[in-house]
């Protein structure tokens, strides 16, 4: 097991190094450097050239990569070209917003998706099943940004029920504890803040939840159907066990395994959705920051961000894989 762990770790370090090199080389080979972002429209060519030199952009790529890597290990990704602030600070400032939004979206997706999927499987072939299946297919096929925009047009702009942007009404006093606004409001007893933040979260969270919800509904339905057909369920049924016991102990428990794994998988698409949702709802999280960094060619910010994401994914990945190794001896043997 230890050998396996070490081996996996080493492989990942190599892979990450490769990734960082690839990213760096890629970003560096692009036309149009950061100096354009840093100067006004009418700066002269001499000013641009001088700034390039001052920034060390004329040094060999290898030197630049070495410096970049050295600093990246210390979580120093340099400064954002658009704001001039350290990228690590920018990311840290915005992470809670994205985490809060994602948690809500996942909560909606699980809270609605699992019961819906289960019901659809139980009532297979009925209108409920049909609605759940076709609804989830349409959910997967609707561009997230379009859904977000339509939700906003209908519920904020036309009906005026919910706010169109931000995490809190600007100017609201709140005490920062965890950075998750609803939770903070509940902890500190500022219930108006919690309510305010919750109102701001509803639409973006629904938009962001659309794809995970669709996927979870379908997976739950499929795996419940599968389990329902297994011999042990039939046996339990034949033994005359109470329907409730069968559902609880046998069907749901066994059907949940693939669902739980797929929820982990969804984190990736959740993140992609966050970029789009946050930019539609001006939510001020990492997503909109990355989007801005992309359009403004804020290379350092983009690189820092991709590295952070890659490392955390890979780390999570490793933990999951290792825990599988503990849980399921077959994995250990296979590797």
């Amino acid at each position: 097991m230890l050998r396996y762990t070490v081996k996996r770790l080493l492989q990942l370090v190599v892979a990450l190094l490769g990734l960082s090199l690839l990213l760096f080389a890629w970003f560096k080979s692009l036309p149009g450097g950061p100096e354009n972002r840093m100067l006004p429209d009418n700066a002269t060519d001499q000013q641009r050239e001088a700034l390039r030199e001052a920034l060390g952009l004329d040094e060999p790529v290898w030197t630049q990569y070495g410096e970049f890597l050295g600093r990246a290990v210390r979580l120093d990704f340099g400064n954002s070209l658009s704001s001039g602030r350290p990228i690590s600070t920018e990311l840290a400032d915005r992470l809670p917003a994205t985490i809060e939004l994602s948690l809500w979206a996942i909560a909606i997706a699980i809270g609605v998706g699992i019961p819906l999927g289960y019901l659809a499987a139980r009532k297979r072939g009925t209108w409920l099943d049909f609605t759940a299946v076709s609804g989830s297919l349409i959910g997967i096929c609707t561009p997230v940004f379009f859904l977000a925009a339509m939700l906003k047009v209908v519920f904020s702009q036309n009906l005026g029920w919910l706010p169109t942007a931000f995490r809190l009404t600007p100017g609201t006093d709140y005490t920062d504890v965890t950075g998750l606004r609803v939770l903070d409001g509940l902890i500190t007893g500022e219930f108006d803040v919690a309510w305010n933040a919750a109102m701001h979260l509803i639409l973006p969270a629904i938009a962001l939840a659309s794809i995970p919800l669709a996927v979870i509904t379908r997976i739950t339905r499929a795996s419940v159907l599968e389990v329902l057909g297994e011999d042990y369920v039939r046996t339990a049924d034949a033994k005359g066990l109470k329907a409730q016991t069968i559902r609880g102990r046998h069907v749901m428990k066994n059907a949940m395994l693939p669902v739980v794994t797929v929820i982990g998988l969804l984190l990736g698409s959740l993140f992609a959705g966050a970029v789009l949702t946050e930019s539609v709802f001006s939510f001020g999280g990492v997503g909109s920051f990355v989007y801005a960094a992309t359009t403004e060619r804020d290379y350092p910010a983009l690189m820092g961000f991709i590295l952070v994401i890659a490392v955390s994914y890979v780390a999570l990945n490793l933990i999951v894989d290792l825990s599988y190794g503990f849980l399921d001896p077959r994995v250990r043997v296979r590797s």
Binding site: L55, N79, S83, G84, D93, A149, T164, S279, G284, R297
Partner: protein, 582 residues
């Protein structure tokens, strides 16, 4: 002020002669080149500089003004709370509320700011400012000549990363450099700043060489006066590289105190929000609303929706497509005066456009009226030269190129360029104050050119690369523009036509020399004569086609009494307030 100024009215009439207001009349085709008054349909009394305000004063809602924050949505975030370290409008919009400059603008005219009056010597190298009495900074310090000199001395003595043009672009642009310019930071020029002398309430600033940037530079947001009390807390030695992070003091409220109607309360970086609060001892009229929050919202769509839903009370750079729906829904979209230029450049580097007849043909082909009438914000006008009509030096007698597709085809045929192919660049991911949605403008021009028989090769370039590409002469045709910083033709013409560049690719020593001569002329009236002549020469040369001057739109909620809007986008937010329901 020493120099006499022609009245707005005269120039307004002159401006309207060549401009068309968006009234839906689209008949003006096929008229002769030097279009005179009769073939334009416009409101004679419409001033393109500063349209008359039509709404009356409204009764303020005292309770709301004290309790409710005014939230202004912005398309971008400021870079620094200290204006000297910035060069962008998003920053200046905020810092202008907190700091005052020696000179100010009313409409486009230079008016007293912190200085009640000023004198300049004949050579334009000595500028004496007589400051207002009884002005105090937010930290209680009183304004005097010493305070002004302390600021200018500090700026001139910047070292290290402070000198980088990415931080103090405007200082090195106006004053050419620093006490000890550091080539490693990208500044090589020698400073023309020659010291400052204080005597009670006067401050005398000397420069070693006059340029037409003065006195405009003293009205620039970057030369706003910061409290000496704040300056004492700064060491200015914490930036050693051009890309060092901006100093801590410029990123959070606390240190910086100005003389403006508002003071800094907070800059919440994670929310992209800057909060200001009314300064009670302000020397002018106290601010209407107690708390103002500038809050960033990424795109125009989101801004409009936030305004409609009541999440914000106003926002800037309204997309032209949103203006009418907003007005219909009861929102206020006051029309700004025009103070910018959008142009189509005919780059001659590749040689194809070196032929004057071809440039002329293209100019006749482009339907600028359709652009102004259908895709630019209301209040815009077709441009006849490379500066807006509100500036001294605007000429009524430049060569004009009315839309005339037949003439364009003829000229192309005469020049033997029937199968002309041109690379036409336009920027993506951007909406500039002078050019909302460049692609729409590109689409229309491209269609016009195709109609005239030109094959257009569309070349979209991301905004961050765009300036570079167009500067290097990589595009034969490209769209670009400029918004003026202050009322001085040099701020426009000097931006483009100082010398032969790959940006334009033409060599006309007459223009370059004339410009240098004008720029060093300290007498504003004499200078204006030079500019008129230069404008005529430039339009004769036709290095590009000025397309339009169009005001970026700004919108406010129905319950807000908006401030006077400014052609220079220098609104004074202390003028606005929540109005009581009627």
């Amino acid at each position: 002020m020493r120099t006499s100024r022609t009245t707005l009215a005269r120039r307004a009439v002159a401006a309207s002669a060549s401009a068309v207001i968006a009234l839906g009349a689209l008949a003006a085709c096929g008229s002769e080149g030097d279009g005179e008054d009769e073939d334009t349909q416009n409101a004679e009394d419409f001033s393109f500089e500063c349209p008359e305000r039509e709404d009356g004063e409204r009764a303020p809602d005292e309770a709301a003004n004290e309790e409710q924050p005014f939230i202004f949505g912005t398309p971008g975030v400021p870079t620094s709370l200290d204006p000297v370290l910035a060069s962008d409008g998003e920053t200046f919009r905020v810092t202008r509320q907190v700091f005052d400059t020696l000179l100010d603008h009313d409409c486009t005219d230079m008016v007293p700011g912190l200085a009640e009056s000023y004198e300049q010597n004949d050579e334009g190298t000595e500028w004496t400012f007589h400051l207002r009495e009884g002005v105090t900074f937010h930290d209680g310090v009183e304004l005097d000549g010493e305070a002004v000199c302390a600021n200018f001395d500090r700026w001139n003595n910047f070292t290290g990363g402070y000198q980088s043009p990415s931080n103090t672009y405007y200082w090195s642009n106006f004053f050419r450099g620093f006490a000890e310019s550091d080539p490693e930071m990208g500044v090589e020029g020698e400073s023309i700043y020659d010291g400052c002398e204080a005597d009670g309430l006067t401050a005398t600033i000397r420069i070693s060489e006059y340029t037409a940037n003065f006195p405009g530079a003293f009205s620039m947001a970057t030369t706003a006066i910061v409290s000496p009390g704040s300056l004492e807390q700064l060491t200015d030695d914490d930036m050693d590289a051009p890309d060092s992070p901006l100093p801590e003091y410029s990123q959070e409220a606390g240190v910086l105190a100005g003389t403006g109607p508002y003071k800094y309360v907070e800059w919440d970086h994670s929310e992209n929000a800057v909060t200001l609060e009314r300064y009670d001892d302000y020397w002018g009229d106290p601010a209407g609303v107690k708390t103002i929050i500038f809050r960033q919202i990424g795109d125009g769509n989101a801004l409009r929706q936030a305004l409609e839903a009541g999440d914000i009370h106003g926002y800037d750079l309204v997309s032209p497509a949103d203006v009418q729906p907003l007005i219909d829904a009861g929102f206020q979209v006051p029309t700004r005066g025009v103070f910018n230029i959008l142009y189509l450049s005919y780059n001659q580097v590749s040689g194809t456009l070196g032929d004057h007849a071809i440039r002329e043909a293209l100019s006749y082909a482009v339907d600028r009226e359709r652009i102004v009438n259908s895709v630019l914000p209301p209040g815009g006008s077709v441009a006849t030269q490379f500066m807006p009509p509100s500036l001294e030096g605007w000429s009524e007698d430049v060569v004009q190129y009315e839309h005339d597709p037949e003439r364009a085809t003829e000229l192309l045929a005469d020049a033997g360029a029937e199968d002309l192919e041109l690379e036409f660049c336009y920027p993506t991911d951007v909406s500039r104050p002078y050019m909302p949605n460049p692609k729409d403008i590109f689409d229309i021009i491209a269609q016009n050119l195709e109609d005239a028989g030109v094959t257009v090769e569309a070349t979209p370039i991301t905004w961050v690369d765009y300036i570079d590409a167009t500067n290097q002469g990589e595009c034969e045709l490209y769209l670009l523009g400029w918004t003026g910083d202050f009322n001085e033709a040099y701020n426009f013409l000097g931006t483009w036509f100082q010398t032969e560049t790959t940006e334009w690719g033409f060599d006309n020593p007459e223009i370059f020399d004339g410009l240098a001569e004008a720029a060093s002329e300290p007498d504003a009236d004499v200078r204006a004569e030079h500019w008129i002549e230069l404008n005529e020469m430039i339009m004769e040369e036709l290095p590009g086609l000025p397309i339009s001057s169009s005001p970026p739109s700004i919108a406010f909620a129905p319950e807000v009494y908006p401030p006077d809007v400014s052609p220079l986008t220098q609104e004074d937010f202390s003028e606005l307030y929540f109005a009581a329901a009627e």
